[in-house]
């Protein structure tokens, strides 16, 4: 699925932000144009893609956010919008009024929610988030980024219940962005994070909420009992690390935020979306020839060789190479640049 960045601007400064370096270094145009929106809709349609994610920055900062969102729905895409839900009451009113006419099964807001105590924000922002959830809760899937081992989920169950959110919780382990200094979960902490996550099993079951794993969870750190519980609950587990394919407002494309500095291309260089995915899959494979996975044992792991598990996020490997072997990383980048 393509991730289309409607803008590089954001209203928040989350400590774990994946896009912080991108936003800080962006010199291109601020907002996706209509010409490019239509081009991308055509490009993805011709490639057989029927799902798209709209993100940023904060996508709702795009002056025509509502219009572009509805446009992709009108083009027949299933649309995920990743949002902080922080927006003015006027913008929320406009969004809510127009979203009501869109088919609910085709439009989903993935709302990145931060723990109000561990990641404090202003009262005004909290009010805006709650106003969003109150108006669009039925369209909204909660999401939570785990960036510290002592994370807590209690507040999320409360929000799902209070605002009638969709009963699937997108969970992401935060990853390192080389050189960005963002907060992230170390490889050695992931086991404890997963154990803590599964300690909420009764809360998940009571609320009938199914977890949905984002990329980079290593299979070996989930004990069999928890894996069984997740399966019975209907959780969407994911132990892969595939190219996310992020497309910027000025039509640059890269593998994912953490790898954005390695091999940036123009969308116009490619004939199909599949070609882009394949290009960045090769980049990931190239990185993994240097270091197989985030743990020493990944190199000989049967689950990695059978592709049941990717061996953690490739971004961890890139981060390690950036610190320990920058020349190798440069060689990888140079090799990629030679690919047509």
């Amino acid at each position: 699925m393509a991730n289309i960045l409607l803008t590089n601007k954001c209203i928040r400064e989350c400590p774990y932000c994946f896009a912080g370096r991108e936003m800080a270094q962006s010199e291109g145009q601020d907002f996706l144009s209509w010409e490019n929106a239509v081009y991308l809709a055509d490009f993805l349609t011709a490639s057989g893609e029927r799902r798209v994610s709209l993100l940023g920055g904060e996508p709702s900062l795009h002056p025509e956010f509502v219009d572009i969102t509805l446009y992709f729905v009108a083009r027949g895409f299933d649309v995920n919008v990743f949002t902080s839900a922080i927006m003015s009451s006027a913008r929320l009113e406009t969004l809510a009024r127009h979203v009501a006419a869109a088919p609910a099964e085709r439009l989903n807001f993935v709302c990145n929610l931060n723990d109000p105590e561990q990641t404090p924000t202003t009262a005004s922002e909290r009010e805006q988030v709650e106003a969003f959830l109150a108006r669009l809760g039925a369209w909204t899937m909660p999401a939570f980024n785990i960036y510290r081992p002592d994370f807590r989920l209690e507040f999320l169950f409360g929000l799902v219940e209070r605002f009638g959110l969709r009963k699937r919780l997108r969970l992401g382990i935060t990853h390192p962005i080389a050189g960005a200094g963002n907060a992230w979960i170390r490889a050695g902490e992931i086991g404890a994070v997963i154990e803590r996550l599964c300690s909420y099993r009764h809360a998940f079951e009571a609320a009938l909420i199914r977890p949905s794993f984002d990329c980079g969870f290593p299979l070996c750190r989930v004990v069999d009992a928890d894996l069984g519980w997740l399966t019975r609950l209907g959780a969407s587990t994911n132990f892969k690390c595939r190219p996310a394919i992020d497309i910027t407002p000025d039509m640059e494309v890269y593998c994912c935020f953490p790898l954005s500095f390695l091999d940036r291309r123009s969308v116009f260089e490619f004939d199909s979306f599949r070609q882009i995915v394949e290009h960045y899959r090769k980049l990931q494979e190239r990185v993994r020839t240097e270091i197989a996975g985030i743990y020493d044992e990944c190199g000989s792991c049967i689950h990695r060789s059978e592709a049941t598990c990717a061996g953690g996020g490739v971004c961890h490997i890139v981060n390690r190479l950036a610190a320990e072997a920058p020349a190798t990383l440069k060689k990888i980048a140079d090799d990629q640049a030679c690919l047509s």
Partner: protein, 277 residues
């Protein structure tokens, strides 16, 4: 048969003629169509709207009426999104001035299945038009027709001077004559607005004077050769027909040259499929 582009007030006086009735408000579409249908082998309603497309409420009663809706812009897509199904089900073609954001808007409308026409003159942004033309003729994904490019392609002849594609704009005297409220006859909409008439009343519609004027216009291109006009030496002559000769345009030659190449390419590879719900 020559169609008459006329204001609503002339319908009763043009019984038996093929009419394109011009109204100045969407509220007048249904009544004008009903009246024209009763009296003539009626053709369509041309609606000149002062407001953007998103401020117009299409109605179910428009079904079955061929409508050319001339709007200054499309407005906000958010306001159109809930009306797309109805808009697609109507015999509607949206005309937009081919400038600025309207070029992107034309592509947007076509991409969601609404037929669109862009109008332009010799001062057009030819490069931006070329992008739209390419999308219109060989875009990789099905979309609604974008005029006048489809008509250009249909009129183009690879080994001879093509037909006049101005019909896509009701601007072809051999097919359309334009009448004002007093029944005066002009060869084009522009000439009607400028007060340049070839007949001073409906009674002269079939006169030799009008026929000769139409024929003279159809043969006017010959004069450019006699004058050694720059258009007569242009490689794109066969497709543009010197439509913009009077305005001394800059950049049109490259545009029409590219159009020719795209049309030839499309003839080899076939057009993108038409939009279907």
């Amino acid at each position: 048969m020559t169609r008459l582009v006329c204001p609503e007030v002339l319908i009763d006086r043009l019984e038996g003629r093929s009419l394109c009735v011009r109204v100045d408000s969407p509220d007048r579409i249904v009544e004008a169509a009903d009246r024209a249908r009763r009296r003539s082998p009626w053709t369509c309603v041309i609606c000149d709207s002062a407001v953007p497309l998103d401020e117009i409420n299409p109605e179910e009663t428009w079904r079955g009426i061929a409508i050319a809706l001339m709007a200054p812009s499309i407005g906000r897509f958010r306001n159109l999104a809930s009306r797309l199904e109805l808009l697609r089900g109507l015999g509607l073609r949206v005309f937009l001035p081919g400038e600025g954001e309207n070029l992107a808007a034309a592509r947007l409308l076509a991409s969601v299945g609404i037929s669109v026409t862009v109008t332009f003159d010799g001062s057009a942004d030819w490069e931006a038009l070329a992008d739209l033309m390419t999308y219109a003729l060989i875009g990789p994904v099905r979309h609604a027709p974008v005029e006048p490019f489809e008509t250009m392609a249909a009129c183009y002849r690879s080994a001879a001077r093509g037909e006049d594609w101005g019909r896509a704009w009701f601007d072809d005297p051999s097919r359309y004559l334009h009448l004002d409220a007093a029944g005066r006859v002009a060869l084009t909409r522009r000439e009607l607005l400028d007060g340049r008439f070839v007949a001073d009343g409906i009674s002269n519609l079939d006169s030799d004077e009008v026929k000769e004027s139409v024929e003279a216009r159809n043969q006017a291109w010959r004069e450019l050769f006699a004058q050694d006009h720059v258009c007569a030496r242009c490689a794109s002559w066969r497709i543009c027909g010197a439509r913009f000769a009077a305005s001394a345009p800059d950049g049109c030659a490259a545009f029409f040259d590219e159009t020719t190449q795209i049309i030839e390419r499309r003839r080899r590879t076939g057009p993108a499929r038409s939009w279907q719900p």
